[in-house]
């Protein structure tokens, strides 16, 4: 049992194969429109405004609607309308598989129920942080921001499992730590394979994925963690908690902390958090 996406679950259950899942992901990418695109189509936004909001989303922890409304680019009614259109027209994995003929329609409800049961222990609200991390204000922010920003910055979907002892850590070739020092500090270590590290570095930098050396992959993971932790530093500061962001360090021995298994759509990774 592990954290997984519906598509992974279906492969594991022998309902579909990887080729069918890739075809579905391509279809979803083509069909599912972003809020900005819908706003432009409805005449609520200019393309330059939509591009600007999308960029701000990558930098801050505000969603599209918050940024658009705060800047006066969209009214509440207009936002509600484009969100409703997105929800109405959104294609999900199961529906897309049915549409492509990879899954019989009458099997979908049963498989979704089984998937929910399988994944119930990994839902965020059920995640229990250990006594040490439970007292740390940065830890839940990191766990919340990591998948959101991974999707925004790298267009890689991510799910995070429940905390495990350090002895459960899987070994991967890349290990990068970014610490937030201070009275309520936290060290954040991402360990991952080359597939995920390369994808992350290419997405963060916009550089060609094939020209990234090992050195640049390490840097890319560090930059990604910097953005996550930089946002956490800013959020904590608003709550009156001051922590300092430290530069990324590589391949530091892990002697303590809590391991969170991470499931990503490309590659493999784990996160280790330790209160400082």
């Amino acid at each position: 049992m592990a954290v997984k996406f519906f598509g992974q679950f279906l492969i594991e259950q022998g309902e579909i194969d990887a080729e069918q899942l890739c075809a579905v992901l391509d279809l979803m990418k083509a069909e599912n429109r972003q809020l900005g695109a819908i706003g432009v189509e409805k005449g609520f936004l200019r393309q330059t405004d939509a591009d600007w909001i999308n960029l701000q989303q990558r930098i801050t922890d505000q969603n599209f609607g918050e940024i658009a409304c705060n800047m006066g680019l969209l009214g509440a009614r207009e936002l509600d309308e484009i969100v409703a259109i997105q929800l109405e027209t959104r294609l999900f994995v199961g529906e897309a598989l049915v549409q492509l003929g990879s899954l019989p329609e009458d099997r979908l409800p049963t498989l979704l129920d089984r998937f929910k049961l399988d994944q119930a222990p990994y839902e965020t609200e059920q995640r229990k942080l250990d006594a040490d991390l439970g007292q740390n204000p940065a830890a839940p922010l990191v766990l919340d921001l990591l998948p959101k920003l991974c999707l925004r910055m790298a267009t890689v979907q991510m799910k995070i499992g429940s905390g495990q002892p350090l002895s459960r850590l899987t070994s991967y070739p890349f290990n990068v730590r970014v610490s937030m020092s201070g009275a309520k500090g936290l060290s954040t270590t991402l360990v991952c394979d080359e597939v995920f590290g390369r994808r992350l570095a290419a997405s963060v930098s916009g550089l060609d994925i094939d020209r990234l050396s090992t050195e640049l992959i390490y840097d890319g993971i560090g930059e990604f963690l910097n953005v996550i932790c930089g946002n956490v530093v800013a959020i904590l500061e608003r709550e009156g908690i001051i922590v300092q962001l430290e530069p990324p360090v590589r391949d530091q021995a892990l002697e303590a902390g809590t391991v969170f298994e991470i499931v990503v759509s490309e590659g493999a990774a784990s996160l280790v958090l330790e209160s400082l």
């Binding site: 591009d51 960029l55 990558r58 930098i59 801050t60 922890d61 910055m153 570095a201 963060v204 930098s205 916009g206 550089l207 990234l212 050195e215 640049l216 840097d219 890319g220 560090g222 930059e223 910097n226 953005v227 932790c229 930089g230 946002n231 530093v233 800013a234 959020i235 500061e237 608003r238 001051i242 962001l245 430290e246 530069p247 990324p248």
Partner: protein, 135 residues
């Protein structure tokens, strides 16, 4: 704008990836030349001293001497070089305020894209043109 002289720029970041990204983006922008790079605050002071560029684009969080400490020295000793900070802690009001207080002309959040840089260079060219016409 095409009549403006080329902007000379130095880039300072401890990440080789960010330097490569900046160089690649700037390569595609007319009228801007990267004359040197460095990977910490001490290196920043050295490249500014050696090249007296129009503009330095510098990270805040770096090992050894950080960007804010380097900014203080550069602004005091090399006032003709203007400095834009580039950082993942740009969302921190205290860091951004400190950078502006020390003389930064802009504090850009990471991740960034070409349009942010184009806008920075455009305003810098305008500033230099205006200054040249006053001199």
């Amino acid at each position: 704008m095409t009549n403006s002289k080329s902007l000379s720029v130095v880039l300072i970041d401890d990440s080789a990836l960010v330097l490569a990204q900046l160089e690649e983006l700037i390569e595609q922008i007319d009228g801007v030349e990267v004359v040197a790079t460095a990977n910490d605050g001490t290196g920043a002071i050295r490249v500014v001293r050696d090249h007296t560029p129009d503009l330095a684009i510098m990270d805040i969080v770096m090992p050894q001497m950080d960007g804010l400490a380097a900014l203080r020295v550069i602004n005091h000793n090399f006032p003709t070089t203007r400095v834009a900070m580039l950082s993942s802690v740009a969302g921190s009001a205290s860091k951004a305020e400190e950078a502006f207080r020390l003389g930064a002309i802009q504090v850009i959040g990471k991740p960034f894209d070409a349009r942010i840089l184009e806008s920075l260079f455009e305003s810098e060219r305008a500033w230099h043109d205006s200054k040249d016409s006053q001199d």
